[in-house]
Amino acid sequence: MEFSLWYLGLAAVFGLFMAWGIGANDVANAMATSVGSKALTIKQAILVAAVFEFAGAFLAGGQVTSTIRKGIIDASTVEGNPELLIFGMLAALLSAAVWLLVASRKGWPVSTTHSIVGAIVGFAVVGIGVDSVYWSKVSTIAASWVVSPMLSGFLAFFIFMSVQKLILATKDPLKNARKYVPVYIFAVGFILALVTMLKGLKHIGLDLSYLQSLMIAIVSGLMTMSIGIFAIKRIKIDPDLDSDFRFTNVERIFGVLMVFTACGMAFAHGSNDVANAVGPVAAIVSIVKTGVVAQKSSLATWILLLGAVGIVLGLATYGWRVIRTVGKNITELTPSRGFAAELAAASTVVIASGTGLPISTTHTLVGAVLGVGIARGIGALNLRVVRNIMLSWIITLPAGGILAIIFFFLLKGIFYNGPVV
């Protein structure tokens, strides 16, 4: 194929740019809850984010990547003209990255996921044709954008209610916190490990049966739990701290739990959002390599690695500042609330990742925070902002789409000399 190296080079650069943008802006939301509730310092948060975003992207990012790569566009409609798909995917990457940067700069509530899906659908409809889009798949994805915040909201509501019943609203919250917090820590380790084992590990050569996966998940849950118990034991209860607010020591125990949910959140975010950057890259790579539009080729490991590295780069160069800013603004969130929101959101996101559904981590987290709020857990929530976030869906999709169409025709004008469709 002519310009093959060009296409590969551009794909890698754009993909890295997009991943950088995700690391720079998007990760902040996932990590800020832990920083805001002072469960983690900025430095710890960055370390946790770097390690677990990387792990999530690399270990569990495959499913969503393949959805972005080949689940949205019916590649058979561009047979004979594989370049069209290359231009489109490049355009989608560029437009989503640009849109993400602009919106982040302006503080607009957009989602990376919505941008990239909007962009892919946009170029496909205009550049290839309405029939080239798997509309049933796209509508499933769109439905998941409504379902995921709701699901995580429900989960957060029930997790937080259970915390109230078992720990906070009891006669001896401290004793009960020591007793039950390890159980929640187990849940974090168990859920993350289970979803990863069940769906993610084929690409690194591990193919496990359901039972094996379950066993490994239980073991890793128990391991996380024992680390947690150890950390809780190390907390020295200081009665002086409780003089102003009687739950200060209890919240310190929840702080331990929140370190684990923060890891889970970073892992979940990496597993779902890396696809937004590497999904299109993977599509381009497989077309260039085979010269045809292959629907079956497998995902190259180095592509996931590219995304993971990009996210960590974004985090290191810029994202830490955003985490600090966002963290400062959500100090009202105590660890007992923050963990409920994070556990609910992380579970929802990894389940979506396992199912291959690209969802918005931030929207899922917003849903979880609302869930805790409905359980009378949060001092005040600004519903106007929540409404703006909902509205942003309607703006983000066409914005990503239109930008992608512009870039698509630009790229086509530069490189294309094949038959006109």
Binding site: N25, A28, N29, A32, G36, S104, R105, K106, G107, W108, P109, F160, M161, Q164, L168, A169, T170, K171, P173, F245, R246, F247, R321, V322, T325, V326, G327, K328, N329, I330, E332, L333, T334, S336, T362, L365, V366, V369, G373, A375, R376, G377, I378, G379, A380, L381, N382, L383, R384, V385, V386, N388, I389
Partner: protein, 225 residues
């Protein structure tokens, strides 16, 4: 740059400002103790200073009240009802208002409290301050209430605090009755106008405890929801 819209969904909780307001009210009312001491000793300079302090703190509390009201837009979603917050705030504000009324009345008419009433009046002032303090302690439980999602254990705890507030208020009623009878026995020796205003001072002072108790009742209504 803002970087993220996520943090914007967290509004400012009204609980801490509400507690700060009540703290200010308590220090305003507490100033009545040295004020009364100065009145009984007839030290004009000290009277003026403490009166000024009371007025200043009442004004500061007023400013806090206005700020909190502005901070509660209708788009805020809160674990406690907006109307409850505003009404508790109004009740708290009225406690300081009546403290200022008492001081203002005594200063304005350059009143002297008869020697034989001094002991009981000091007791009444002390109990009024106690009532405000008890209301403050109850309001301080608001963050614990929210932490536990208005759990039963915590609600009971606040209930006990409020029963104690009722007892204190009852006590101030008894002291007022006693003061009136003491004043009645002195009526023949005093100027009629002074007598009238002394009755007025006793009543106004008692109002402080009444209103502190109403802060508690409003809090109790909040718990009942």
């Amino acid at each position: 740059m803002s970087g993220s819209y996520f943090s914007a969904i967290f509004g400012k909780s009204p609980v801490r400002p509400l507690q700060e307001h009540m703290e200010k009210i308590l220090s305003c009312v507490s100033e009545l103790a040295p004020f009364t001491k100065a009145v009984l000793a007839g030290k004009q300079e000290a009277i003026a200073t403490h009166h000024r302090n009371i007025v200043t703190m009442e004004n500061e509390a007023d400013a806090l009240k206005k700020e909190l009201r502005l901070r509660l837009p209708s788009t805020l979603f809160m674990p406690i009802d907006r109307r409850d917050v505003l009404e508790v705030l109004t009740m708290q504000d009225m406690v300081a208002g009546s403290a200022r009324d008492v001081a203002g009345l005594i200063v304005g008419r350059e009143m002297k409290i008869p020697k034989s009433m001094a002991k009981t009046y000091k007791k009444l002032i002390k109990r009024c301050i106690d009532a405000s303090k008890q209301a403050y302690i109850a309001i301080s439980e608001l963050d614990e209430l929210i932490e536990t999602g208005f759990g039963r254990v915590e609600r009971k705890r606040v209930g006990r605090l409020l029963i104690k507030l009722d007892v204190i208020e009852q006590n101030t009623d008894d002291l007022q009755v006693q003061l009136r009878s003491e004043l009645f026995n002195l009526e023949a020796d005093l100027q009629p106008v002074d007598v009238m205003f002394l009755y007025k001072v006793i009543e106004s002072t008692g109002t402080i405890a009444d209103r502190a108790q109403r802060v508690g009742s409003r809090l109790q209504l909040m718990l009942a929801r």
